[in-house]
Symmetry: C2
Subunit: 289 residues, 2 copies
């Protein structure tokens, strides 16, 4: 099937998932939406994250996609139910694939998960793993500083190492043998994390696992593009283009990030029934006087 | 005049400004709006920051305020023009007061400014200082990690000290004698910053300077509440209530943060002409099928 795959994330971290999809499924056309205007999701409430996830998915649905990948761990942790309830195409999040992989790999039944505060507080990885094996102990550690450290580009700086030592202490004291990188930003820190936790701990990149699940699901449902050629150019949409955008984006994607299109997301929301834009904001204030 | 003062910020950092206003103007009723659903502003584009500032101000205008304080350095750096164009009450930002204070205090005409990437890239402090004295050299340093460090509560941690040493190196090499804390979060780091830069560098808390300007402006315009009693209870509105909210908020305010009201900001925007809410998002997706 020649329809594209849609991927959304709270920002551009999801490009690490895109990178894996490109590697595994080179013929599939990808449509990416990064909600850079409302990033981060990881510090916000469930209610808001659900709303944002629905709006992001609505944006992608315009492109007649055959499957949507929720590249954001936070949205995958908190909004899968509401997304599946409201979409009539397959929805793949990053939590389930990461959890399945961890459950299969741990030998001492002690798995660590690192992620945003919202992801860890949701207990999403723990409950997915519990579905597979109730004997596995899952220890979660929120690491809110790791995202800004990645965005600052301090990938193997001593500040980063010191921050990780603090965050990971509880996990190491409990002898985890498997560590899930539960945030799309973390694959960029993979080497440094490995150095801090030591060689005996296996790292799991949820994005990589997710790409495998997408491939499998498309094959099972007969949705793979088997035409032998790529259907169309990949497209990258974002809701805001902040400073250092291309530099950071290219770091995530592992190749130059070009032809990014800024969406007037408010405009999109207005057209589909809701929101705000600058012009309306000005009018609105004028009317309130 | 018994009308309240309105204050908005991208989140709850602006409570450090509220704290100063409470100290200086105990009889004034304060209405605070923290846009926690869309925090941070500091990494976003000018266009988006202007829109958000207008919407935040529109929310406060409902309360018949006599003056609006833009507690957010990023919004003060990028949205003062659009706010002043659209509001018919005085608008006070935090940049101008901080700049005036720094220009008056520096002896070697070398001032440092630390803030978010958007604040520093805007050159707002430099251009305000240039209006006062063209001979003063202003060196800006974006410090994106300091906000998450404050929110993590690592106020005098070695990670924080090490991060500051890296950020401040260029400023110290250039022998600044005055340093503007150009972000509402930074007053919480004041002691640690002072330790890192040494006793010879004077720190300027823009929020504290802003409270003085508000007092002066209200007095000049005959807008002070001189009734001898507080008009009404202070009110605190936020657009989202994330994890650790009260803990962090109380740290900023310097006293327990209670009776915070969550606003359905999307609902507000819809009513005044624009936006989104959960219900609409679901309907919208249903209609797109």
């Amino acid at each position: 099937m020649r329809k594209p795959i849609g991927i959304f994330d709270s920002g551009i971290g999801g490009l690490t998932v895109v990178k894996q999809l490109m590697k595994l499924l080179p013929d599939e056309q990808l449509i990416y939406f990064g909600d850079t205007a409302r990033i981060p999701y990881g510090t916000k409430s469930k209610r808001l994250i659900e709303q944002y996830a629905l709006e992001d998915a609505a944006f992608l649905m315009q492109f007649d996609i055959k499957l949507v990948v929720v590249a954001c761990n936070t949205a995958s942790s908190l909004a899968m139910d509401v997304l599946r309830r409201n979409l009539d195409i397959p929805v793949v999040g990053v939590v389930e694939p990461g959890a399945v992989s961890a459950a299969g790999l741990t030998k001492n039944n002690t798995v660590g998960v690192i992620g945003t505060t919202a992801t860890i507080n949701s207990g999403s990885y723990a409950s997915e793993i519990a579905k597979l094996d109730r004997n596995i102990r899952v220890l979660g550690q929120p690491c809110p500083l790791l995202v800004p450290l990645v965005e600052e580009g301090w990938l193997d700086d001593e500040v980063t190492v010191l921050t990780m030592r603090k965050y990971f202490k509880g996990l190491m004291d409990n002898h985890i043998d498997t560590l899930i990188l539960g945030c799309t930003h973390y694959p960029l820190l993979e080497e440094t994390i490995q150095r801090v936790v030591g060689d005996k701990v296996q790292l799991i990149d949820s994005g990589k696992e997710t790409a495998k699940v997408v491939q499998q699901l498309l094959a099972e449902k007969g949705l793979l593009n088997i035409s032998g050629e790529k259907t169309g150019e990949d497209r990258f949409f974002v809701s805001d283009i902040p400073a250092k955008f291309e530099e950071i984006g290219s770091r995530f994607l592992g190749r130059p990030l070009t032809n990014v299109e800024r969406v007037d997301f408010d405009q999109f929301l207005v057209q589909s029934g809701f929101p705000a834009n600058m012009h309306k904001a000005e009018n609105n204030l004028a009317n309130m006087r």
